[in-house]
């Protein structure tokens, strides 16, 4: 029955922010307990228009403009989620999420655990993250590693419209708290076909975007774009890259990462966040212990520098570029 249903469905061309909007709309249609809250999300439809039209469709009771307080948004979401609602909260930019940390770390992530299953916290916090759109100060950070360190908090990062749709549907359906980080540089980059079906994507699996046996390029979020471009360039030189979109930092699909390292023996990890203590370090450590005998070259990490995200005049110099990824892959090949 399900496959017949899928056959009848047409893939619709959507950009990433439109896919988010579609996923929210569909989740709200399917489940009355899904409510949205955040700053400027109702009448304005969100500063990136992720919630455009939803207030008109579902009303102010389910699409709530909150007072301007991120800590409040997170705390209210915890309260709602503890009593059976499924709040999907928007933090306008990841640079403002820190006021919500206490709620996420001390409450959302541990409510089920500390009540031994009596209460749970099925919330989703959405936040646009990452640089490259010439935004004001504090609007371009990538601090996903802070959150991936928190037991009990799932961290999910889509890198295409289809994965944005499928992963957000899964995140909303998930009974655990999810931080859903949206690479805002990709919001309007391109429209790609998105199948609007009911099959959610897994929240604990990497996606293999391209298969190759020479080198593994591992990344997530907006950097998938540069990583795929690097794979194209390497292919011109006859180097075939496995491209892995990690997509869920917590829980981490170590098996897929170990398998790709086992296959190629050469690994380049790419992320926009700073180097030291970045999530690439966790992946590198995993491979250093669990794929050591297969490695043919030191693990390379192509990342941002250990500096605050520069204001936009210098953000391009900060962000990992295709050339750096290609050069790292070639160092692996030449080792």
């Amino acid at each position: 029955m399900h496959s017949a249903q899928r056959d009848s469905q047409v893939a619709i061309p959507l950009n990433l922010v439109e896919a988010i909007n579609r996923a929210l709309r569909q989740a709200m249609e399917d489940d009355d307990s899904v409510v949205l809250l955040g700053e400027d999300i109702a009448t304005n439809g969100g500063v990136f228009r992720a919630t455009e039209g939803l207030k008109e469709h579902f009303g102010l009771r389910r699409v709530m403009d909150t007072p301007l307080a991120e800590n409040l948004i997170a705390g209210m979401s915890v309260g709602m989620a503890s009593q059976g609602l499924k709040p999907v909260a928007e933090i306008q930019f990841m640079g403002f999420i820190y006021a919500a940390l206490e709620q996420l770390i001390s409450h959302a992530a541990r409510l089920r655990n500390r009540t031994r299953g009596r209460l749970s916290c099925p919330l989703v916090i959405r936040a646009p993250f990452g640089g490259g759109i010439h935004a004001p100060e504090h609007h371009s950070e990538s601090t996903e590693a802070l959150f991936a360190h928190v037991p009990g908090l799932r961290v999910v990062i889509p890198s295409s419209p289809a994965r944005a749709y499928g992963l957000l549907r899964a995140a909303i359906a998930c009974p655990d708290p999810v931080l859903f980080l949206e690479p805002k540089r990709l919001y309007r980059l391109q429209r790609l076909p998105v199948a609007i079906d009911d099959e959610p994507l897994p929240l604990d699996r990497c996606f293999t975007l391209r298969a190759g046996e020479d080198v593994s390029l591992i990344s997530w979020g907006a950097m998938i774009h540069e990583t795929l471009a690097a794979a194209d360039q390497l292919a011109e030189d006859g180097i075939k890259a496995d491209v892995i979109d990690v997509a869920t930092l917590n829980p981490l699909d170590r098996d897929t990462l170990i398998a790709t390292a086992g296959k190629t023996g050469r690994v380049v990890i790419v992320h926009e966040a700073p180097f030291t203590g970045g999530f690439g370090a966790e992946i590198a450590a995993t491979l250093a212990s669990d794929a050591l005998m297969h490695l043919r070259a030191p693990i390379e990490r192509v990342t941002g520098y250990d500096t605050p995200m520069p204001y936009f005049a210098m953000e391009q110099q900060y962000m990992p570029r295709v050339e750096r990824i290609v050069a790292a892959a070639k160092r692996c090949m030449a080792y």
Binding site: A69, L72, G75, M76, V78, G79, M80, T115
Partner: protein
Amino acid sequence: MFSSAPYTMHERLPSLDSNSDWSRLIQAYQAMALIRCFDKKAVNLQRTGQLGTYASCLGAEAITVGAGLSLENHDYFVPYYRDHATQYLRGVPLYQILQYWGGDERGNAFPAQTPAVRDLPNCVPIASQLTQAAGIATKAKLCHESAAVLATCGDGATSRGDFYESLNVAGVWQLPLVVMVNNNQWAISVPGRLQTASQSIAHKAEAAGIEGIRVDGNDLPAMLDVLDYALDKARHGKGATLVEAVSYRLSDHTTADDASRYRKASELHAAWQREPVARLRQALVDAGHWQADQEKQWQTHCQQEVDKAVQTYLQQPPQVPTDMLDYLYETLPESLQAQRTVLSEHAGGRHA
């Protein structure tokens, strides 16, 4: 019906109206005496190494019992960590309260079929429960429940942004929320005058556009008046209330604290003259509704109940170590299976 001029202290004791609800007042006194007895035992258990750090409710009995009696079953309770009597009156057994303070998360798995089953557990990070209470109040409003949410906190919590953020949204959204501050004059070692320059804590309601009420937190009948009023108002969609219950912390902050380092003995001695349990007992005795033999019987009963709770607490089997992983997610992610195996192999039982 309760009414008072804004921010003036509402008081009822020492004498009671002849048309008081005597059975409710007696029930309140009995609960206050029970929790006083429990509290003393809990401190002793900590002193003898049988309980972890414990936050005493000595001096807060009228507040925590008043809350328990004013809440209806379908209301929600969002506590800080000094409302043991409210939890008890909502259906949490005394042994489970000890289990929580004994370092065991099972103490937060409140029993099904009791009003407590939906209540939030104790909240240790100061004031962070208040935004959650606002979220629960939003849920109650969205779902057209005629339920109120009662959140409690201490005077120190009123300095945190969470406190204002919660009152603020409760004002804007007309939430069915009552925030009750136990102003016991001390936030660990910092006295109220160093916490705020506001004329009173109740005055802080003004900025949020909600009603603020001061009440004598050592006066159980006054507490019932105010909480009945505020919770009823919330249930009927008439908005949020800030209640400042003025009491005095007769204990140390917790068993890990030594208040003699920062608090004068004379101040403590003066505060004992107004303590809530003796005040209510005296008023009931004066009105002829509580006799010496009843008192004796009830004290014996309290001791028996507390002893039973201690026995039950001490007899609980240890937790299974893998519980720390098994309750983290609804389903343990595959990636944690290896850690779970290590844990179950290396943490065979309770550490001696």
